[in-house]
Assembly symmetry: C2
């Protein structure tokens, strides 16, 4: 018991939201799980391996674009960790994805009127330049096909700046932030279901337009295309979505920092067009168009009790090390497995750990898992990437898969590297009491909040969409959304070690409780096509 007290006291000292004396929450649960939670806290906070593992992955291996050689290196590392920690059923599952593409090196320089090294990132899945391309730029902002005519005949031999330069706009809000009590309370609301039939139509169109633009520019004799970063202050990201082998970009596509892009734009607008040089070295393996996600289990004692599950996406973008998105949360998933294995006890239900891929191109790995194990919808399984993602959740009817009734809880971690502050109940009102009970030992670590609202864009989303109990944690935002997400500063420096330990501890305890609880999380009825909220509404045909 001394050990339990120490562990809880340590937790309070480290994460203490309350400086005044408070009841020892773990000790207040009053059943056999108590001592195991205390052990989880001790193992997770005082014997953490998470940051050491995170450095091996983020520093040593680096970014993990889906279906790249570096993703495979990282996958081998993760499977090795699961093996080291004594998990079972360790394996990869494949699904059709898109081009195997690997970035080797890149460079972007202004040559005239003076020499500058610019901050740049190739757009993922761009063709390489095959050496250095040096050419004058032309500022020709185009965002739809109607803009093409204006530039026809003017682009030959040019590197085309395709974004509007705009004016710099700086937020007056803090870029690094932790949630206060009011902000947490504001999240506790019921989100009325929307009724957009194709919520991602605009995204899908913009991906198609990038390809159409590259075709137009190539037909006009342009030699490369360049866009502006959507962030300020030297940050670049390089997101790209043209992964379909039959619909590739046909011209090298580079992203420049806002500062570097606007400097070129100002010079082009006021005088002689600057000359720049671009270099992108990348290689593809056209024979390989499938991607993998990773699975590992801690087997349960009762095969009829179903399984619980945790996951994060192991893939990242290419601009830095994919630390906060979503490498560190992936390491936290591995760490939760290690912590639970350290208990030396077998859970009632199997606990499954998933490291997804293809998340950044549209939750593609978790969709593949759902289709293989949980539920199917009448969708085109040959569609690629965003096209597959954009319409997936809108198709009915849903057909239950083999594990539909077996999956008792899924916890996803993909809101950066900030500590866990609570969980979104996803409009599942009936699930709130059990979620609250499981989080209650961690109120003193700041993680006790259950809110009604929904959150999207992460791998629990399409489980929810078929009526399964898939949840995403609330995390302190830190500087994830303001500057780090997808950017060239997404390194381990943006994952505070204390936050990482806390999150792994809370995740492990949630899984342990969900795996052993007599009660299981209630579910909504199997979703069917919803009626319109306003049956008289006529959709604007031009709206994306």
């Amino acid at each position: 018991m001394q050990r339990t007290l120490l562990a809880v006291a340590t937790a309070t000292a480290l994460f203490g939201q309350l400086l005044v004396a408070q009841p020892l929450r773990a000790a207040a649960l009053g059943d056999a799980t108590d001592a195991q939670i205390a052990k989880i806290v001790n193992e997770g906070l005082s014997h953490s391996q998470a940051m050491a593992n995170a450095s091996e992955l983020m520093d040593g291996i680096g970014p993990r674009l889906t279906n790249s050689e570096n993703f495979d290196r990282a996958a081998d590392w993760a499977l090795g960790k699961f093996k080291t920690y004594g998990l079972s059923n360790i394996h990869k599952e494949s699904y059709p994805f898109g081009v195997n593409w690997n970035l080797d090196s890149w460079d972007a320089k202004m040559v005239q009127p003076r020499a500058i090294t610019m901050r740049a990132m190739p757009v993922a899945w761009t063709p390489p330049t095959n050496g250095t391309i040096t050419a004058p730029v032309i500022l020709a902002p185009m965002s739809k096909k109607e803009h093409f005519d204006k530039w026809r005949g003017k682009l030959s031999g040019k590197i085309v700046l395709v974004s509007l330069p705009g004016e710099a706009s700086q937020s007056e809000k803090p870029q690094f932030h932790r949630l206060d009590g009011k902000e947490l309370a504001d999240l506790d609301k019921y989100d009325l279901p929307g009724d957009e039939s194709q919520p991602y139509k605009g995204f899908s169109k913009s991906v198609a337009f990038a390809r159409e633009l590259s075709q137009f520019l190539k037909s006009e004799g342009a030699v490369a295309m360049v866009r502006k970063s959507y962030r300020e202050n030297g940050l670049v990201s390089g997101e790209g979505y043209n992964i379909d082998p039959a619909k590739r970009l046909v011209l090298p596509f580079m992203e420049l920092s806002s500062e570097d892009y606007r400097r070129l734009a100002r010079l082009e607008t006021t005088g002689k067009p600057p000359v720049i040089s671009l270099e992108i070295a990348a290689h593809t393996n056209d024979a390989d168009t499938s991607a993998d996600y990773l699975i590992a289990d801690i087997a349960g004692s009762d095969p009829k009790a179903g399984y619980v599950m945790a996951g994060g996406h192991f893939d990242s973008w290419i601009a830095a090390d994919g630390a906060t998105d979503d490498g560190v949360p992936s390491v936290i998933v591995i760490e939760a497995a290690r912590i639970i294995r350290s208990l030396g006890a077998q859970p009632k239900r199997t606990i499954r750990f998933a490291l997804w891929s293809g998340e950044e191109q549209g939750l593609l790995g978790s969709i593949a898992y759902i289709e293989k194990h949980l539920a199917t919808r009448p969708v085109d399984r040959n569609a690629y990437g965003v096209e597959r993602f954009a319409t997936w959740a809108t198709q009915f009817p849903i057909t239950k898969g083999p594990d539909y009734d077996q999956l008792k809880a899924y916890f996803n971690l993909d809101n950066g590297a900030g500590k866990i502050r609570g969980i979104y109940a996803e409009n599942n009102i009936a699930a709130e009491p059990l979620l609250k009970k499981w989080l209650s030992p961690f109120a003193g670590m700041g993680a006790g909040t259950v809110v009604g609202s929904r959150t999207g864009g992460t791998d629990h989303e399409f489980m929810q969409a078929v009526g399964l109990p898939g949840f995403e944690f609330i995390q302190d935002p830190l500087d994830y959304g303001s500057r780090v997400h997808h950017s060239n500063i997404d390194t381990l420096d943006h994952a505070p070690p204390d936050d990482v330990r806390q999150a792994a501890t809370v995740l492990a305890a949630m899984l342990w409780q969900a795996a052993n609880s007599d009660a299981v999380l209630p579910r909504p009825p199997l979703p069917t096509a919803p009626s319109k909220s306003n049956p008289f509404r006529i959709d604007d045909p031009d709206k994306d």
Copy 2:
């Protein structure tokens, strides 16, 4: 008069601090200067050339390290502008500075365990690498000679990481900010004079240590030294102060972004030392050790009335374009000259415009001007850079120079590119009423505040130190101090055009009023060596 109303109305619309109706301040002054101020407002706000000039300088020419070839290019450009705008007495004045050093290109890559392009900046005045240096790193933090023994014999063939990696620390305050009324009010206080005999002793020691460290590392066979940026989020700066031809750095010295530095440090600490490659191409002209500042006048009608003056420092660091520090303010000084010339009227007093250099290495250009024209102190004129700067203001007696009684006001602009919010009275209580009067037309543009306090580190400082009426404006901080100052994002994007027009207009009006006013700014008595504030205090001999 219609034109005046329009100009003031435009100003209010653009910068309106007050949305309610207010008296037309320019019209309220009630003397012949009124119409001229209205013309200044119209010219400065509705016919501004400042941003176009700023782009020519910042985008087209770029950074302007003192005594570099690029500074000379920029100086020719500025002298041409003064000529275009019809100023007289346009010339450069030289002073002994230090090595003529020019950065040509640079690169920093991690090679093992994987390939990454790092964000890096050579430290100014570093020796070049003469090609690419590739070597393993060693983490050997050293900040004083006492640390050398620990690393002796371990550094041969290594690239030495000399900074403590520390942990990332992110501010929870906004990085972009404008002053509110309370913050302006808080600046209005009398700063009791301090009594440190050598306020910059620590700075001077740290510059000497960089050289000593490079000598130690070279003697141990190390091949290069690397420090960590003092900023986060991919920002680097590369400030260096070893300009003395006889006391140069003897090993190539590179600065890495915090993220890149800490990644190397983590890898070195936990496993096989990473291998990196560094390349610095730079050239010097050892025959040229003098620097120039620039002077141009608008001649006054009354040679006996003395002169007034405005200045900013034309030199910058090397990491970006030196826009907010201090290129844009320098362009604003030029624009004030243009605005005043556009009046078609001759001022009573000569108005002098100065574009300093050597400011970043210790206000060296303005010191040289002071010594040539205004006042001398018993200092070592052969000392270089920081050594000259650090003790200059502490030496007595002060001897008046030829222009000491002629300089009636000096206004400096060097707090970034934010609009003018007021002026520091520099403990000169008697000067406040006249400063308030001159700023009063601009209260509606947010520039009406006069505060008692002092501000330092800019080129008015040593004029104040000899008892002259040198002042610095209060400016909105924007993101100057939080991330842009000296960094690789100091580009024109961080200078909002509306702020730039406003500052040029206010500066022009201040100069015009100071040049024509019957009253002149009162001065304190000629400074003599101060007594200790506490005559019983014994200084700690170890304190820097």
